[in-house]
């Protein structure tokens, strides 16, 4: 800190007065000198006060910085026990800060103010520590409850589950007594946990054994009070049970195929939702390509009614749809994998190249049935395939006739008569 040169200033002010000390003039000079000395004394006081203020301010800045740094250190201190160890450090900071204050009165004033600031900082340090302790205890409580919930889920018999739930309640009550949480927070926490436990239990069972979970949900042996939630879980369990059954019966690829067929049926009757597609995708029971076509088909089906088209556009669409319809017949009547044919019909529909009613009829009525779709004997499968193939043969013959009619035997183009 820079020092103001007080003595040098006084010397400079006094020096011009010295040669005038004689006679009457001397008396006037003495009077003048007295007045001037008084003024100088006042000026000296002012300057001293300026110096005191500067020293006081500098000490205050230093002390504030140091206390703040000390609080940061204490707040991060993993080994913090109590504030006493920091009290000594605070005394040292105060002494350090005050040592450059020359005026005793000013120094005492600074120290009394510093003690207030230091106590406040110490109290802040202790409060932060208590908050940290509290949060850590609350985190411990929640971790403990998680573990206790595991015991609840893993328990087989109702009595065991009741005991596990009682232990959770006991933990919460203990923590209320230990003031880790308030009584209101304790009640709220238990209400939430006890309400969620049965549903969570059911969800875990759905993941492990959906068929058993479904039975238990139907009889509500979980004790779920919210009927809406129970209905939601039943639907989840049904889907999961069907998926599992399919996986067991059909194997992975056929299960995917069957899901695609099932969802497409829902698409045709308008009951398919995007979330059902997502569910099956997540469960791995729907091929990505099918999911993509189905999603697109839903959206195109929804928007087809609201999109306006010019007469010309409608005519173009009709032409395209007729052409695609006939191409689909060509495809169906040729040899090939039913899966590929099914996907092609779905894709053309989702692209808007096929009318919905045509797509439905082609898809459901005239594809060679996919034998992955259910439990059928080999003989039944062969019979179904033969029947479908025969039906398609009839159609193939008729289509040939129609084409022949148009290309070769259409004597009405010109409309000439004799």
């Amino acid at each position: 800190m820079g020092q103001i040169p007080v003595n040098q200033s006084q010397t400079q002010l006094r020096s011009p007065l010295m040669p005038r000390a004689t006679g009457e003039g001397q008396q006037r000079d003495e009077v003048a000198t007295k007045g001037l000395v008084g003024a100088l004394d006042n000026a000296t006081d002012v300057l001293a006060k300026v110096q005191d203020t500067q020293e006081h301010n500098a000490a205050q800045v230093y002390a504030t910085e140091q206390l703040s740094a000390l609080k940061d250190k204490a707040d991060q201190d993993p080994n913090f026990k109590n504030g006493n160890e920091y009290a000594t450090e605070m005394d040292r900071i105060g002494q350090d800060a005050a040592k450059n204050i020359t005026n005793t009165l000013v120094r005492n004033d600074f120290m009394s103010r510093y003690k207030i600031a230091a106590n406040s900082t110490l109290s802040g340090i202790n409060n932060t520590f208590r908050d940290r302790q509290l949060k850590a205890a609350q985190a411990d409580l929640l971790t403990g409850i998680d573990a206790q919930q595991e015991s609840y889920f893993n328990a087989t018999y109702p009595q065991e589950k009741m005991t596990a739930a009682a232990l959770i309640k006991q933990s919460i009550e203990d923590n209320v007594k230990g003031m880790v949480i308030s009584p209101e927070e304790g009640v709220k926490l238990w209400d939430k946990i006890s309400a969620d436990l049965p549903a969570k239990d059911a969800m875990r069972d759905i993941g492990k054994d959906p068929t058993v979970a479904l039975q238990r949900l139907q009889t509500n042996s979980y004790g779920i009070k919210d009927e809406g939630k129970r209905a939601e879980l039943i639907a989840d369990a049904e889907r999961a049970a069907i998926r599992e059954q399919k996986m067991q019966q059909l194997g992975f690829e056929q299960a995917q195929e069957q899901t695609a067929v099932d969802l497409t049926s829902k698409l045709w009757d308008g009951s398919l939702t995007l979330s059902q597609i997502q569910d099956e995708m997540n469960a791995g029971t729907l091929e990505r390509k099918d999911a993509e076509y189905l999603r697109k088909a839903i959206l195109s089906d929804r928007t087809s009614d609201i999109q306006s088209a010019t007469k010309e556009q409608k005519a173009q669409t009709e032409t395209k749809q007729a052409e695609t319809y006939m191409n689909m017949w060509d495809m169906i009547l040729k040899k090939g994998k039913a899966t590929d044919k099914r996907q092609t019909i779905l894709k053309e529909f989702s692209d808007g190249n096929l009318r919905k009613e045509d797509a439905i009829k082609l898809y459901t009525g005239y594809l060679i049935p996919n034998q992955g779709g259910g439990k059928v004997s080999l003989a039944e499968a062969v019979a179904a395939e033969q029947a479908a193939a025969k039906k398609n043969q009839f159609i193939a013959g008729a289509i040939r006739l129609f084409r022949h009619f148009w290309n070769q035997a259409n004597p009405i183009d010109e409309g000439d008569t004799e």
């Binding site: 006939m326 006739l401 035997a409 259409n410 009405i412 010109e414 008569t417």
Partner: protein, 78 residues
């Protein structure tokens, strides 16, 4: 003039609907197909319905002659 595929598709749709509607024997299919064709023909040329029942000779775009009857059926000539 409509794209030929539109007419062929319309006839195919009708055939498919009729096959789906009930028990159709294999031997019936040509008759059903012919019936659909006749219907389409009269739909495209309504004046055919006014032809005498003995038929009326018409020419196609290739210059071929045919006797066309009021129900839309025809017999190629020559």
């Amino acid at each position: 003039m409509k794209d030929p595929n539109i007419h062929i598709a319309e006839m195919t749709r009708e055939l498919v609907d009729r096959l789906s509607a009930g028990n159709v024997k294999e031997s019936d299919i040509p008759n059903i197909a012919q019936e659909i064709i006749r219907k389409k023909r009269t739909q495209l040329k309504p004046e055919i319905a006014g032809h005498p029942k003995e038929g009326q000779i018409m020419l196609d775009s290739f210059g071929r002659k045919a006797m066309v009857y009021p129900d839309g059926s025809l017999k190629e000539l020559g």
